[in-house]
Amino acid sequence: MISRRLFLTSAALIGCSAAAHPLLTPMAFASAPGDNRLVVIILRGAMDGIDAFQPYGDKNLRRVRQTLSLGPDHGAKDLDGFFALHPGLHGLWPLWQAGQLGFAPAVSTPYRDKRSHFDGQTMLEAGTGTDLDLDRQQDGWLNRLLQAMPNQSWETAYSIGAEDMRILQGPAATSSWAPEANLAISPQAMRLLTHVYHHDPLFREAGERAMAIAAGLEAEGKLVPDRKEHLALAQFAADRLNRGTRIATFSLAGWDTHARQAANLPDMLERLSETILALRDGLGSHWGSTTVMAMTEFGRTVHENGSAGTDHGTGGALLVAGGAVRGGRAMGDWPGLAEGDLYDGRDLMPLRDIRAYAAWAMHAKFGIAQTVLEQAVFPGLDMGSDPRLLA
């Protein structure tokens, strides 16, 4: 219960989760987890997929975005004549060239309309549809995947970092670890705190200087030498995946770019890029059997807002990388940015359930049957046609 960071917990859980789904009996599956590896990175705060993978070929882009997502003329790298890679992700260019990086530009969970980070993340990590009460979601879909895998042990799946990873919580035993370093205070956190402190003169005055100091402090009160927590997460994940671990998950927070997105998003994209490269470097020859999926709870508004940022939206991008990926391409269709194409008149229209990509990847990598994926891992999901995510 207490320390997720000090103990490599065999986390058979307390007070959480019902009995395993009847379909989830490892006996039913012949193939072992084998050599395949899956890394799921949750991008908390809602990444702006339109800025990460800029659809400069869409003539409406300039109309909806004036200072953001400016395309190849302003430093983004042309990917395929339609999409361009944000400069913050340029570190991943070699992967794109090697066919080890791909993205689905317009996906989402079934979550609609309320646009709450917590609920959106709960649904993304629970992997369920809209028919279940979000309050009652306790287990994550990676845990249900684990239950369906034969020969799993306490080290088959790892959650890494101080952040709560519901995606891996559930009856199957898993492990967790967190590095000493602390999560950075994101620009959005600072904005919200500034708002909260504004009405209290003492806190308003001390708050601004406090946030500058806090950015350099650890939660234990020591000064942090540098801000490289994401590398620590990736390196630890690679180290475990090189041994007995096959599933690793962690999160990167700080994507909620309501204001000054041009200043704030590059840093996050660079972190994501460095994280993926650190996984590749750390995995060495195992990179070839690895799939990395970076998922976010929802996308952001198509239009820029009044503070040079974007607000909570619906459709967003899924990033996939790894030696096992059939990359170098955009996956799935593009809905368009014309007024009539938008969801609710404001958001990118999601064209496919993000869970379908994850399900097909698990089907290919771990040999999990489609019925198990559609009924137990992602209850109620229609996987549809195979996007052939993997090579």
Binding site: M1, I2, S3, R4, R5, L6, A11, L13, I14, C16, R44, G45, A46, S116, H117, F118, Q121, D135, Q138, A162, E163, D164, R166, Q169, A178, N182, L183, I185, S186, Q188, A189, L192, L193, H195, V196, Y197, H198, H199, D200, L202, F203, A206, G207, R209, A210, M211, A212, I213, A214, L217, E218, A219, E220, G221, K222, S251, A253, G254, W255, D256
Partner: protein, 455 residues
């Protein structure tokens, strides 16, 4: 804003709300709840501290004889003492987690600051814990005079305020050792009047301080000798303090008890203690009404702390002066852990490293190193002393970084907001929390907010 009484009392007189516990619903229940803090927990007693101190000295001498500054046996014993001290700290936090009310533990903190001592060496640290368990806890609902006597004559106080070095110039000891320089030390005498009873503004003179210092001679501490009174060190003769003469025959501890009884029941003491309680529990600048009420009860009941506690619990100023106080770092950490639903056993299960990382290091950066106040006047009360950029920065960082490491599954921040603050969350915080990027950030906003850091 009108909070139900149980929530109001938990926030203002305790360590805030808990998802596990509900506090008493009326003032009588809150006052009665103090009893829980009077029972023995994982308590530290001077008998044990003496033995540990004697053994440490013995091991040091053995090591020195062996030509070493210190050896493994010595180091191991010292480690054991330090671990015992950490357990005492953990016990303080653990009791708060499991106390539905929290008022008793807040009183423990209040009186520990009123009778402030400071540790340092392993045995001195343990003595600060023993003072809390032996002198303060048993008297939380008793007479102020008994509390004061227990605190003033506790070895931790005698060492901290230099009473152990105060010897009557004409005492038996001084006459036996003419070569040694022995004399009075006024420190304890001065603070007894100035800080612990009448207050600095009261009507007393330097002559009263010196007379009290002479009267206190004989009071001392040595690990090897039982008790705290050595007649041989006492200055002979009667002494007049605040117009009344004490002692004269052979010196006894009773003379000291007599003078403490009188100091404790002095009119100025009633006002001073009433004002300090009001400043701590009600507001940095409390309304005169509540100070007067507390002072009257103090006078009318001859310092009955049970009656004082009830007066505090009944005070309408709890509601009218809501959020006028800033939670001290100790309260902030305890309230945070409590709001996250940790149990006493969770805290007792902390490793040494966790005790430092979750509790002690953050408290020090927030400006409240455990049991090490700057002076005998204890911890400051004014909000400005705690709401510094550095202190607030550490609160923000703790709020951002620790909860997700301590709790298996963080609650929904929107529910946590209501759980931690009742119906009293401010509009800006209600607006901000649902907009946090993640659960952990949402929880952090609540814990770092002015709403939560005030009480």
């Amino acid at each position: 804003m009108s909070l139900p009484y149980d929530q109001l009392a938990a926030i203002r007189l305790g360590f805030g709300l808990s998802p596990r516990l509900t506090g008493p619903a009326d003032p009588a229940g809150v006052a009665a709840s103090v009893a829980a803090a009077m029972s023995a927990g994982d308590s530290v007693y001077m008998d044990g501290v003496r033995q540990m101190q004697i053994e440490l000295r013995r091991l040091l001498l053995i090591a020195r004889k062996g030509g070493q500054v210190e050896d493994e046996a010595y180091r191991s014993h010292r480690r054991g003492m330090n671990d015992r001290y950490l357990r005492a700290i953990v016990d303080r936090f653990a009791r708060i987690m499991d106390d539905p009310s929290g008022f008793g533990e807040r009183l423990v903190a209040f009186w520990s600051s009123h009778f402030a001592v400071r540790g340092g060496a392993p045995h001195a640290n343990l003595m600060t814990a023993a003072l809390v368990d032996e002198a303060i806890r048993p008297h939380l609902t008793g007479r102020f005079a008994d509390l004061m006597f227990a605190a003033e004559t506790h070895p931790a106080m005698l060492i901290y305020l230099d009473q152990v070095g105060s010897v009557g110039p004409n005492s038996v000891s001084a006459r036996r050792n003419p070569d040694k320089v022995m004399g009075l030390n006024e420190n304890l005498a001065r603070e007894m009047i100035e800080l612990h009873s009448l207050g600095v503004g009261a009507d007393y003179t330097q002559q009263d301080v010196e007379a009290l210092a002479r009267l206190l001679t004989g009071l001392t501490y040595s690990a090897r000798q039982p008790g705290v009174f050595r007649p041989a060190q006492a200055e002979p003769g009667a002494d007049t303090v605040l117009g009344r003469s004490y002692g004269g025959d052979s010196a006894t501890l009773n003379d000291i008890r007599d003078v403490i009884e009188d100091l404790a029941s002095h009119q100025a003491t009633a006002s001073h203690i009433a004002r300090k309680l009001a400043i701590h529990f009600i507001a940095d600048d409390p309304p005169p009404s509540v100070v007067e009420r507390l002072a009257n009860v103090f006078r009318d009941t001859a310092g009955d702390l049970g009656a004082i506690n009830l007066t505090l619990a009944e005070a309408p100023e709890l509601a009218t002066q809501y959020r006028q106080k800033l939670r001290q770092p100790h309260e902030f950490l305890a309230a945070s852990l409590r709001s996250l639903g940790l149990t006493g056993d969770d805290i007792r299960g902390f490793s040494r490293k966790q005790i430092r990382q979750v509790l002690l290091n953050p408290m020090a950066v927030m400006g409240q190193p455990w049991a090490r106040p700057n002076g005998p006047d204890g911890w400051p009360e004014e909000a400005e002393a705690w709401g510094t950029p550095q202190g607030l920065a550490m609160r923000i960082n703790w709020a951002m970084g620790q909860p997700s490491r301590l709790v298996r599954q963080l609650p929904d921040p929107r529910e946590f907001l209501t759980m931690a603050l009742g119906e009293a969350a401010s509009e800006p915080l209600r607006w901000a929390v649902p907009r946090a990027e993640s659960r952990s950030q949402g929880i952090a906003l609540v814990l770092a907010s002015a709403d939560f850091n005030r009480r």
